[in-house]
Amino acid sequence: MSGTVPREAVAELVDVCGGERVVVAPQGRLVRAMVPAPFPFHRWADEAPDVVVLPETTDEVVAVVKLANRLRVPLTPRCGATGLNDGAKPMRGGIVVDTKRMNQVREIDTTDWTVTIQPSINMLKLNERLQPYGVWYPDDPASYPVSIIGGRIGTGGWSLLGSRYGHVRDNVISMEVVLPTGQVVEVGQGGGRKVRHSSTGFRFKDLFLGHQGTLGIVTECTLELYPRPEAEFPAFFGYESFDDGYRAMQPFCRSNLATLAGVILFDERKVAYLRRDDEAYIPEPASLKSIVAVAAYGSEGEVAAARDRLLRIGRETGGRYLGEELSELDWASRHDRYATPLHGRSRDRAVHMSWHCEDAAITYSQLPFVKERWHEIADRYVAEHEIFDNWGMFFYTNNAYKGWGDYLVEIDIGVWEQRFDEASWQAWTRMKREIAQVSIDAGGSISACHGATREGEVDLIPVELKDGQFDLMLKLKRLLDPNNVMNPGKYLLDRAYDEGTV
């Protein structure tokens, strides 16, 4: 939606960042119109932002935000842009503030065990830098080699190793945020940048973890450090039905092993999908219908003890250990796990499909209900439209430091984007909405970790958050962003500016 940035604004951007860091070329704008979530390519031209700027310092970000306020120009922060919801997708054209040049490490503190960085560093790269000190920052999503810490903060991300090391919100200690007015604030646990737990004043940090770039731009953050794991033990167990796998999951999750990092349950549709084109699974017998994967990290003695207990639980629950090679290599690939386009099958032909990854947070007791409903929905749309494919489901431990409670529930839908037109895009958003509604019906949450800004589900935000939370969101948005310049339109937050709502 171009045409929202006046000449004056471009002139000021060039003043602030220099001509080399302002992008007006059409390709530079088009490549930043989307993120990996399914995108309406038939409307690509309409979705392009007007201009892109690449700041390097907090001062430059402040200057850009202030000029956007003064001139009433929409801006969308863009960090990694590898997220699976539409947080970084500009909805009103305007300026994309691409922060990837803000990638300096400010300080590695080997006494108080923190690392302070500008936000645009990738976790794998950061951990390579930290390795000589024997420490690491343990945030491990499927996008570990590519996603960027600023984006992880913006989306409130989930880590594969969360049951052992916590998630993003547990490992970001404090941050410097540029508010939508240009004011710079430090948020954390009170005023001490490296304090992990305090009761001084209000706790604002959580507000800026998962706000999808609607409440400000992170320009610096201080992160938790852990000792580098001495040892790892991954194990995959096969079961002859989803029910067996689902029941087996519980003793693993309740094993209360301090080193247990994660438990993943694969349903029978996921196993069938893997057997279609994953070398490791093709030779597996037809009786393999469900899988439970577990992994432990920590000191060698602890992990060895955890290993023995996990293997015993596997045996006692009737699981078949799938072997060292599969366990080790499939687990290693999970730090790096995105769907490849040619896994798409449309009426049996392999076609390039993009990946929708649903990510509800659902309690253990509701998992079978959600599974049944989601497959019914997905299969119905797959039967009716050649552009969709159902790639099965995963269930991952979601609770920080614990294996029980709630689970990140994922259904993977292939989408043949090249074939989108307005009618099929609408069918897609209808499917998305039906899927999200099930999460609410199950007493869960639409999004465990991606964010729920996607078309189709975003309309359900006021439904899920009906008990006062959406109302609070509107109040806070209006308070912090009086001119509605920061990622406007996201999360239905425009309603904050309707007369009479606030």
Partner: protein, 454 residues
């Protein structure tokens, strides 16, 4: 669909003055149609994914942090061109931001996890070459590349060296011409990094491997192809093949990875009847050492690390033989950085980058040298004269870390080249705490002046 409109004020953002738009719109549009035919599907193969795992390992992206300069950005731009949303005149300038190192192709999960299953992989290097060539064909090109390739045609080599002197490095070595094994010398090695071909010649002779030089060596043509100058490449390739045929060659030995890659990947595409064996010198030397036909007995008491040339490691999977050579040298304290970590490494010398974007190429080299810093080494070894030359030049203004080719090290350890001057220079620099600008092995003319074993 039509090209998306520019925002107001777009004239305030300067364009790259190196890019000239000649030709006409029709030619540019025809070029885009041809590109779309060949590459639109491939572009969608990347676009439907857009997870951007290609990003962090990309040496140019590491400098610019601009997602236009990644495999994703290059593919997305082709997809946009195919839909008419971007013109070739706009897009062309981005495609210089690539050394064609191959990191993204290796690393892309679509390739890494399922490329073999689908016999379908990310082919970014071909895409970049195709867009550059489309530009040249349509009259959209870079002044710097145009000039460079005109000079290469005029001089028959990339060093603007007197073509009559292309074998002058071998003057006193009494090497034959022709035969069934031809040693292809590479332009940089022939005119500047002359220690390398001298070292290789001495080693092969010592090991009893018969070889000859070409009657009239021209540049391999690879760089011209990388920059989009297809006609130049074809002219050079035809000349070289004719020379080899006339010489009765059955086998070509290359001492630089750029040549190796061109002969192994590109010549067979151009010539249906290309039946020559192409062997890279590191593989050959490692074999000879293993077989005992070369004895590396002189110790070289230096602490060094090895830079994997992109076109050997990433493009062709050759990373073992150079390390085999280094490990055979007595006294060498070889600090290895594994070849997978080095998927993300690059000298910045390839793909025409130092010609079109010297400040970016310099920063890529600085990043490479910075990564070496913490290893506490006295020297950096590699197996690519272009990487070595570029790194050496950048190192001169920043610590002056000695850069040396593995074949020169092997020749010194085999007693075929006098190691003392080099060892002294390395020691002297280390003792001086990395102050001063000690001349490094392979500096211009140095190769000719070194004493050799009698």
């Amino acid at each position: 669909m039509t090209r998306i409109p520019d925002p107001e004020g777009s004239d305030l953002v300067p364009r790259d003055p190196d890019v000239v738009v000649g030709g006409d719109r029709a030619a540019a549009q025809a070029a885009v149609r041809e590109l779309a035919e060949g590459y639109e599907d491939r572009a969608w193969g990347c676009m439907t994914s857009r997870h951007k795992f290609c990003r962090e390992p990309c040496p140019v992206y590491q400098v610019t942090r601009n997602e236009q300069h990644t495999s994703y950005g290059f593919h997305a731009t082709v997809a946009a061109m195919s839909r008419g949303l971007v013109d070739l005149e706009d897009a062309y300038e981005e495609y210089a931001y690539c050394t064609q190192c191959g990191a993204c192709e290796l690393r892309c999960p679509n390739t890494l996890f399922t490329g073999d299953f689908y016999r379908n992989r990310t082919q970014l290097v071909q895409l970049v070459k195709a867009v550059r060539a489309a530009g040249v064909k349509a009259g959209v090109e870079r002044r710097s590349w145009k000039r460079w390739n005109e000079d290469t045609v005029a001089y028959r080599n990339e060093m603007q060296g007197d073509p009559a002197e292309v074998a002058a490095w071998a003057e006193d070595l009494d090497l034959p011409r022709g035969g069934d094994t031809i040693l292809f010398c590479d332009c940089m090695a022939a005119y500047r990094q002359t220690r390398v071909p001298r070292a290789v010649s001495l080693l092969l002779r010592e090991a009893g491997v018969g070889f000859g030089l070409m009657a009239d060596q021209w540049c391999c043509g690879g760089p011209a192809l990388e920059m989009g100058y297809v006609d130049v490449y074809e002219e050079f390739a035809r000349h070289n093949l004719a020379d080899w045929r006339k010489a009765g060659a059955k086998r070509i030995v290359t001492l630089d990875p750029h040549d190796y890659l061109t002969f192994v990947e590109e010549y067979p595409k151009l010539f249906d009847d290309f039946d020559l064996e192409v062997l890279h010198v590191t593989d050959l030397l490692a074999e000879l050492i293993e077989a005992g036909r070369l004895q590396l007995t002189h110790p070289l008491p230096v602490r060094l690390t090895y830079h994997d040339p992109c076109r050997l490691n990433k493009r062709r999977g050759i990373w073992e033989s150079p390390r085999g050579i280094l490990r055979a040298i007595p006294g060498l304290d070889f600090v290895d950085v594994d070849h997978v970590t080095q998927w993300a490494a690059c000298s910045g010398a390839g793909g025409g980058l130092p010609i079109s974007l010297p400040h970016v190429a310099e920063q890529v080299a600085r990043n490479r040298l910075d990564a070496v810093g913490p290893l506490g080494v006295d020297a950096l070894a590699s197996a690519c004269v272009w990487a070595e030359d570029h790194l050496e030049q950048v190192a001169r203004s920043d610590g002056a870390l000695p850069v040396v080719d593995v074949s020169v090290l092997a020749a010194m350890s085999a007693g075929l080249l006098d190691a003392e001057p080099w060892l002294e220079a390395v020691r002297g620099r280390t003792a001086a705490g990395r102050e001063g600008s000690v001349s490094t092995a392979g500096a211009p003319g140095a190769g000719r002046e070194q004493e050799e074993r009698q």
